[in-house]
Symmetry: C2
Subunit: 321 residues, 2 copies
């Protein structure tokens, strides 16, 4: 087996779960493993769980981790490609500072490790292998706990000075709802799953009725997952319908703003909520986008992420392709 055809690893590090894969040079997934992101033992505990998940995925394919061509990691927070250091990953435990994630994983796994931004690598995966593969300019919108964005222009990632793509913090209502980021009126303040849960709790405390939190307890979840939102919707919960409608309006305005500015060939909707609700609400989101397009006669293509749940890990693996 030549080096170029040697399988490689990919790890998508999320606030809730760690997804690891082993993938071959034709980008076919050979093995995968998933585990919850540990809340104890801080960054080192997370790194240990990541190494275990990757080893499990490798075991399933009969390969030792040190025989992999390399392992790519998609991480939240600020990622430094050169050093593999990850800083300020607010939705990970005790990770406000800096942690040498790349080098620790490299020691544990015995192969080269490359670290990139989670949303950036997921956009890259969709651009190269998914819904964007026939397009040169791509806007990726990852609707999940928050709302992340990735930008590919002329086939290349656009990172600006390092912080580009924060489509979740495009303002859709000046002076509007408080966002988890601290500002007001961001798209994420209405559409991020975490902000939606906060709003649901606020309304419930005010006496409004909802099944959301009973469903959460019944299914033994610590928070309102995309699956819980879907169940509540399916049983006709009125507050759920309202909050999803509110999220869709915000997504429409925010994505339209980004299109008016960038005029990309395609918009790809991904993320936990995006993948789960894309088929159901895609046309509604598109309609909302069109309401705010400057050139509504020429909207870009609109697609749901094709790589689904594994997109982040596949994109991470491309860092070492």
């Amino acid at each position: 087996m030549s080096a170029a055809s040697t399988p490689r690893g990919g790890i998508d590090l999320g606030g809730t779960k760690i997804q690891a894969i082993v993938i071959d040079s034709a980008n076919a997934v050979l093995g995968e493993a998933r585990r919850p992101t540990p809340r104890e033992n801080g960054p080192q505990g997370v790194a240990d769980a990541m190494a275990e998940a990757l080893r499990e995925a490798a075991d399933a394919t009969g390969i030792e981790s040190d025989a992999l061509r390399g392992v790519g990691v998609g991480s939240p927070g600020e990622t430094e490609a050169a050093s593999g250091v990850v800083s300020n990953a607010k939705n990970l435990p005790d990770w406000a500072g800096s942690f040498p994630l790349g080098s620790r994983l490299q020691e544990a796994l015995g192969t080269r490790v490359a670290v990139g931004n989670d949303v950036g690598v997921a956009t890259r995966a969709e651009a190269d292998l998914g819904a964007g593969r026939h397009h040169r300019s791509v806007l990726g919108v990852f609707w999940g706990t928050g709302v992340g964005g990735g930008i590919v222009l002329n086939g290349k990632d656009w990172h600006g000075r390092g912080a580009a793509g924060e489509i979740g913090h495009v303002v859709v209502k000046r002076g509007g709802a408080r966002c988890p980021c601290g500002n007001r009126g961001c798209m994420e303040a209405y559409a991020g799953r975490s902000a939606m849960e906060t709003e649901a709790r606020r309304r419930m405390k005010k006496g409004e009725k909802t099944d959301l939190f009973d469903l959460m307890s019944d299914h033994d979840k610590p928070r309102l997952t995309s699956g819980i939102w879907e169940r509540a919707l399916d049983q006709g919960d009125a507050m759920t319908e309202e909050l999803i409608e509110r999220a869709i309006k915000a997504l429409g305005a925010g994505i339209a703003s980004a299109i008016n500015l960038l005029d990309p060939e395609v918009v790809i909707l991904g993320g936990g909520m995006g993948v789960r609700f894309g088929e159901r609400f895609g046309p509604k989101i598109e309609k909302r986008i069109n309401k705010n397009l400057f050139d509504s006669d020429h909207p870009p293509a609109f697609a749901i992420a094709e790589l689904g749940d594994l997109g982040g890990a596949i994109g991470a693996s491309l860092l070492v392709a």
Copy 2:
């Protein structure tokens, strides 16, 4: 004189005025002429006035127009670089269709004519010769009758599929004020000079007091120019203060959205209103931007357009440099 050092022409075509210049190879302006954009005789009348203005600017330098290296034109509407055709220029008289501006001017002037988008060439001028000359990525914001935007990334213009940069139509208030474009809540609906005038008229009809329209009549203007807004502000007109404050808030939110998405090195504020009020209100606009920045610890540089009123014509001349 070698061809490369031959002076060139530039014409900035606006809804109100035509600005022509002759400029040398070191980008020093040798001559200039200005005239109002004629409202009669449609596109051909405008083309005739443009040729006259350019000839006047050339005369002042002792050069015939056919001895120029070429003439660049910055035009509103949809511009086709290859053919020089301009379509759908809504703020020009009877210009909803297509008009071969480039070839008509070429016949009239006897030299090569290149046509580009007005905001695009103005951004290019600031990026190359003005406030952006030490930066590789630039967001130009042209605050005038409307609010236009220009994007330079890695030193190159970004046009998307041809319609990028419409920062005036970034949504700052979903479902908000009606914009001249027909949509709701756009930045331009609050900050564009034309929308501001519409709002001032609406408030006056409701019985609110303002000196704006008396000043307009006194100075024999057909509309509220940037100069009239400044006079009203200087004499403490309350409605003027409110409407400018409202514009500044919208500019802050919309520009912050664009920064969150693109993360450019510098934001340059130009346009008739931007140049007139930049020094006075720049710090206030910056403060407003910072309120909605995701990464407010690392704002981009903020600068007022350095080339002032001639920026558009200088940028146009770069099309034939």
